[in-house]
């Protein structure tokens, strides 16, 4: 969590570690040709990072590039460029930011151009737009594209059927692995994959421990804005690596220290001293005005103790899933199938209601994202149901992922303030 303008904030070791990891991956990506490395683009939900690493390939995540560009205030121009190229105003702004980034030279944060990917790993998990997104990229890059269709858990209560699991495993064996072998010229080594899985599970244990510290009062972490940073390594290019294990060990130590000292969560303006409202948040954050958005919470003493977004790249803290070295391909399948947006709305709703209870929250706040129907469609019903199930008030705000045109600070702030007042009134009435 960097804040270069605020000298009071001393960066924790985990922050420095993460920064170095991300910078290192961008260096590897942008120097891939010189280093003789193959690159693949893929998505955060349902990413098969351990497999990608098994073939010594470098992982590029267009979603992360888009949100990074938004945080650097560059996505707006990229989106308008894509719209000028014929992309509708109505569709996902992640896609348009990515296409606009290409048009502007496809520069990585280090200022060097991204290489054209050697492969597009279309992990089709929990979002229909992914399919169109990579068809659009394939049109530009003309590179091999592998579809990994992860069936939606439309029925049942979070139960992955044998048919679903077998389907994903078969695709991994028959389509994904052979393509990766061909592109990388590296033979698949299942023992190497197992070793990665051991490291994945270790990091997952530590991440879950960190996220669940928010059950304490006061919470030592923010489970939404803060968690965005905590999930960074495991949801992106590092799950399965020694770096990720080290990062989560460091993070756990730091959070334990905060917990032991009874400290509140860290914000860009220092520690949150007084925890007045504890919220569960559904939906991704807004990236274009991330700091401004966060400030609207901590200025009012509001802390987010849990969020669905901290599960978007894998649900580890709900039903005990861990990558399993004994059944590596099956556990990749279970991981993909269990991603948050791949679960049906009734289950997601129950999850939010459970989080309110488990984390002693004051209610559910939904940040509904204009670009993201996977999250957004059905959220108004979810709000009502969670209010009924938990007996706690909910609130609804609307922003976008990376399109600055859809972030209206005054409206969002107004609604948040009203929500906090509503919580106060409920408390007084109780």
């Amino acid at each position: 969590m960097s804040n270069d303008n605020n000298p009071e904030i001393v960066k924790d070791a985990s922050m420095l570690k993460q920064k170095a990891m991300i910078a290192g991956n961008y260096e590897k990506l942008t120097n891939a040709k010189e280093l003789g490395l193959k690159t693949t683009s893929t998505f955060v939900p349902g990413n098969v990072n351990e497999l990608i690493q098994c073939f010594d390939m470098v992982n590029n995540l267009p979603e992360i590039n888009a949100l990074g560009n938004a945080m650097r205030k560059q996505s707006g121009a990229m989106i308008t460029d894509a719209e000028k190229m014929g992309h509708s105003e109505d569709v996902c702004t992640y896609v348009k930011a990515d296409i606009g980034m290409m048009a502007k030279g496809n520069l990585a944060p280090n200022g060097k151009p991204m290489p054209n990917p050697d492969m597009l790993m279309l992990s089709y998990t929990g979002c229909y737009t992914f399919l169109k997104w990579f068809e659009l990229l394939r049109e530009q890059y003309k590179c091999p594209t592998v579809m990994l269709h992860v069936p939606y858990q439309g029925d049942g209560k979070g139960e992955v059927t044998k048919s679903m699991r077998d389907y994903v495993v078969k695709q991994l064996k028959e389509e994904v692995i052979p393509t990766m072998e061909k592109i990388s010229s590296v033979k698949f080594d299942i023992d190497k994959l197992r070793e990665m899985m051991v490291r994945s599970a270790k990091a997952e244990d530590d991440l879950v421990w960190v996220l669940q510290t928010a059950k304490n009062k006061p919470t030592p972490i923010d489970g939404y804005f803060g968690a965005v940073y905590y999930i960074g390594p495991i949801f992106s290019a590092f799950r399965g690596t020694e770096d990720a294990v080290e990062y989560y060990q460091l993070l756990r130590q730091e959070i334990k220290e905060r917990l032991d000292k009874g400290m509140g969560p860290l914000t860009p303006d220092g520690e949150l001293k007084e925890e007045k409202y504890r919220l569960v948040v559904e939906g991704p954050p807004n990236w274009t005005n991330f700091r401004e958005f966060w400030k609207m919470f901590y200025e009012e003493g509001a802390v987010c103790v849990a969020s669905s977004y901290s599960k978007v790249g894998g649900v580890y803290d709900y039903d005990g899933f861990r990558h399993d070295p004994q059944n590596p391909l099956e556990s990749i399948a279970d991981y993909c199938l269990g991603c948050y947006t791949n679960r049906n709305l009734p289950e997601r709703t129950k999850m939010m209601a459970d989080l309110i209870e488990d984390y002693q929250a004051d209610g559910l706040l939904i940040n509904s994202i204009k670009s993201c129907n996977s999250f957004a469609a059905g959220e108004l019903l979810m709000l009502r149901e969670v209010e009924n199930l938990s007996g706690k008030p909910g609130a609804f705000i609307e922003t976008d992922l990376v399109d600055p045109r859809y972030f209206s600070p005054a409206n969002v702030k107004n609604r948040l303030e009203s929500y906090f007042q509503m919580i106060e009134q409920k408390r007084q009435a109780a």
Partner: protein
């Protein structure tokens, strides 16, 4: 069956106007009287609704149930409750469908299927489970891997789960024989649909787009047997009518596979000087492009038919970059069309994200196109009429031909 035959006999010898009036009546009837009467005619009958784009109606039919296409509320329905469930940036079809549910227009529907089309329809399956827990509601997946031993196996299992779900709903077994019989019915049905489409492509002045639209909409409500007869009667009646050929241009419509345009939009395009010679309305009735094998394992046959012989649509992955969008250019060529009109609902992710790729293919082949967006309750047709009219004029006056 006797009742159906008697109903069919009533349709025989009807004029085009009478047939289309009947279809329009069905189209406008948001109380779904036809389906209600069908259900009431025999004890134990069930009705299963389905959303666009594709479900294998053969299985519903084999269960002795009526497949009922749910295509939103159209422009005649005032949406009040539905708007409380969906944000302004989400398309209209889920809100009007929820409105239909809440207002009890669908209170006779025993099951609802939500095909894998987009995130909105996908999540609507969950909304339905939460709002109407007494209804059998199922998200219906189709494979994105088209190998028989991978996607085919998964899909066959999916079809079996649907079969078992409908068996529980109907409290009766669906035998292989039931399925084989239904496959034969739907083979005949699809052949008749294709005949209408071919007839229109051949003589579009005799078969206006609005009539074909209403005719096919009726098929979303009627039994397939009834609809086969209606289409047969329509073609016979059309053959007898004199209709003047106009100097219109020939266009293919693309992008309207889910939320439907108001009927006025369909008419406006034609009035603007365009003969519609193909479209992607209600693709469920021709998704499978060849006869499904009726012998052998029926579920495997249905699975293979989807894998090997199904139409392209935006939510279906195209594994080959070279083939992406080619189907549209081929459709233009096969139908003798002179241009494409992209007509997609606002906020329709699959259609709008697909459109730039399709446009690239058309540009490469020098096929002109225009695009506009609509909602099922769009009221102002004049801008669309002007746009389509200008497009038609530009083709007629300045095309190379």
């Amino acid at each position: 069956m006797e009742e159906l035959l008697s109903h069919n006999r009533k349709l025989i010898f009807m004029s085009v106007k009478e047939i289309i009036d009947r279809c329009e009546e069905l189209f406008e009837d948001l109380n779904f009287t036809y389906a209600r009467e069908w259900k009431a005619a025999e004890e134990g009958r069930k009705v299963v609704g389905y959303m666009p784009v594709y479900v294998p109606n053969e299985i519903i039919h084999a269960a002795g149930m009526l497949p009922l296409g749910i295509l939103g509320g159209g422009d005649a329905m005032e949406v009040i409750h539905g708007d409380a469930y969906y944000q302004s940036y989400i398309c209209r079809i889920p809100r009007s469908t929820v409105e239909l549910g809440i207002m009890k227009n669908l209170d006779f529907v025993d099951g609802m299927l939500f095909p894998s089309l987009c995130d909105v329809i996908r999540n609507l399956s969950g909304v339905w489970k939460m709002l109407f827990p007494e209804v059998y509601a199922r998200y219906f997946d189709t494979p994105q891997n088209f190998r028989s031993d991978i996607g085919g196996e998964f899909y066959r299992n999916d079809l079996q789960e649907l079969r078992e779900g409908l068996e529980r709903l109907g409290s009766r077994k669906i035998t292989d024989e039931d399925l084989k019989n239904s496959i034969k019915v739907y083979n005949e049905y699809r052949n008749k649909v294709r005949e209408v489409y071919q007839y229109r492509a051949y003589q579009p002045w005799k078969v206006p787009a609005s009539e074909v639209y209403l005719l096919m909409r009726a098929g979303e409500i009627m039994t397939p047997e009834d609809h086969i007869q209606t289409m047969t009667d329509y073609l016979a009646a059309v053959e007898k009518e004199e209709r003047r050929m106009k100097d219109n241009c020939r266009v293919v419509l693309n992008g309207s596979f889910c939320e439907q345009p108001p009927l006025g939009l369909v008419k406006s395009i034609e009035l603007a000087g365009c003969y519609v010679v193909d479209d992607d309305y209600m693709m469920v009735n021709r998704m499978i492009t060849e006869d499904v094998e009726a012998e052998g394992d029926p579920l495997e046959n249905l699975s293979e038919a989807f894998l090997k012989n199904s139409l392209s649509f935006p939510s279906k992955y195209e594994p080959s970059e070279e083939e992406k969008g080619k189907y549209l250019a081929e459709m233009v060529r096969e139908r003798g069309a002179e241009g494409v009109i992209f007509s997609a609902p606002s906020f329709c992710d699959p259609a709008l994200l697909d459109q730039p790729m399709l446009a690239t293919v058309l540009e490469e082949q020098n096929i002109p196109y225009i695009s506009f967006q609509y909602a099922e309750n769009s009221g102002q047709m004049q801008p669309i009429r002007e746009q389509a009219g200008t497009f038609a004029d530009s083709i007629k006056l300045w095309s190379a031909a």
